[in-house]
């Protein structure tokens, strides 16, 4: 009968939802990867069926209101936090690194980012003040680094930004930066 088929369907899909919940609770408590085979034996469910539920579950996690993702490797699955929310997580797991950069450091960083490689004298020239402390702060924080020396009198050190700098601002490579600034500056002038 069609009605009983429908009810059966309904029962099955309810069961699927429940299994998703069970998988989530197991993965959460374990906090590590777990073999899909092992998971199937714990839930006492057919491996093929489990795999299809895991697929559905993985898609469920893609929704905005979920903060987790299902990662798969070596026939294992594991819960992890969504990469796009990592800035929030880092804020709480490493509260000691929450610091402000001084205005001088920000200015210096901006100049180095745009004009790199650049010497301290050139930075001082642009800023109109000495940038020694700002440079050493930026070096300490790993946002800039020394990159060779200029072939002029005194052979001054050249500074450029680091991978850390790119990571922090989410750039793939430094070429993106000057263009972005140019674009922004033009827009502002309009």
């Amino acid at each position: 009968m069609a009605e009983s088929d429908f009810l059966k369907e309904l029962g099955l899909s309810e069961n699927t939802e429940r299994i998703k919940g069970i998988i989530e609770s197991i993965l959460f408590a374990v906090g590590d990867g777990i073999e899909i085979k092992e998971l199937a034996s714990i839930i006492d469910i057919d491996l093929k069926e489990l795999k299809s539920i895991v697929k559905e579950l993985s898609a469920d996690y893609e929704k905005d209101n979920r903060g987790l993702v299902l990662i798969e490797y070596n026939n294992k699955i594991q819960l992890a936090t969504k990469p796009e929310y990592s800035t929030y997580i880092k804020k709480i797991l490493k509260p000691e690194s929450k610091q402000n950069l001084s205005q001088a450091a920000i200015e210096t960083l901006a100049i180095i980012a745009y004009k790199q490689p650049i010497t301290k004298v050139e930075i001082d020239e642009i800023r109109g003040v000495r940038s020694d402390r700002a440079i050493s702060t930026l070096l300490e924080r790993g946002l800039i680094k020394e990159s060779g020396r200029l072939d002029t009198t005194g052979r001054p050190i050249l500074y450029c930004t680091t991978d850390e700098f790119l990571k922090y601002f989410g750039f793939k490579n430094i070429n993106e930066l000057p263009e972005l600034i140019e674009l922004k500056l033009e827009n502002e002038e309009e």
């Binding site: 929450k98 004009k115 990159s147 072939d151 990571k167």
Partner: protein, 250 residues
């Protein structure tokens, strides 16, 4: 009468006493002290026979119970002699038992919750060392980085009429291939892919152009950089050797 007492584990003398009172089905406020004391001592004897260690507290309680028992046997003083009603010798022990009973019952509740509440927590994530080198600042975004740059550039241009800062440097007639090599590697490291001509734009004299070119050739020989061109007459690009440049557009 055969003694068939199941030796239970009691948390202490109060626990045992409560058990005996409950078993005897008597009022806690009116304990038949002689009967309970007898049972209490019987229990200790059973423990002894089973070679169980008897905590000193159990023995102290036995002594206390015997003392109360003997007090209870003494004839009571007449009430007229003293205004105060004479204290029941059991009062102190009863108060103790009642208070202990309250916590024992609460403990029972906790135990029930413990058995029923089967929730699990997740261990916190460990951020590994590589990541912990990351820096995070509250007040710096791309926006204020650009703004800072715009501001300083404007201020600079108001101060000077020069466009190029490089011109400020006094060129020196000693260009070394080694230095130029470092310079190129540095630039390639920063920009990943650079137009060939970029290296020569800043040259201040013919000698520098030549030295730069030689340095470039040396780096190509050392396989430190790659030079490539998509089609004839198009721009030549320089790229770091370790880059997976095959995957890029070119």
């Amino acid at each position: 009468m055969s003694i068939n007492i199941k030796i239970e584990v009691f948390e202490g003398p109060l626990d045992l006493l409560l058990h005996l009172i409950k078993k005897a089905e008597v009022d806690i406020y009116d304990i038949p002290i002689a009967e309970i004391t007898e049972q209490y001592i019987l229990y200790l004897k059973n423990m002894e026979e089973l070679n169980l260690d008897i905590a000193s507290e159990f023995l102290v309680m036995a002594a206390t119970l015997l003392e109360i028992k003997s007090k209870m046997l003494l004839p009571r003083k007449k009430l007229q002699e003293d205004e105060q009603v004479e204290e029941d010798p059991r009062k102190e022990i009863v108060q103790k038992l009642i208070e202990y009973k309250k916590y024992k019952e609460f403990a029972e509740q906790l135990k029930m919750i413990e058995e029923q509440s089967q929730i699990y927590f997740k261990p916190p994530e460990i951020i590994d060392d590589i990541e912990s080198k990351d820096v995070f600042f509250k007040n710096i975004t791309l926006e204020n980085l650009m703004f800072a740059f715009k501001k300083v550039i404007e201020a600079y241009e108001r101060r000077t009429n020069k466009k190029s800062i490089i011109d400020e440097n006094i060129s020196y007639d000693e260009f070394r291939i080694e230095d130029k090599m470092n310079y190129i590697v540095g630039l390639v490291e920063v920009y990943k892919r650079i137009r060939f001509t970029r290296f020569f734009e800043e040259a201040k004299c013919k000698l520098e152009l030549i030295v730069t070119f030689l340095a470039m050739l040396e780096l190509i020989k050392l396989k430190k950089i790659k030079v490539y061109q998509r089609e004839n007459f198009e721009d030549i690009y320089i790229e770091g050797q370790e880059e997976e440049w095959q995957n890029q557009i070119f």
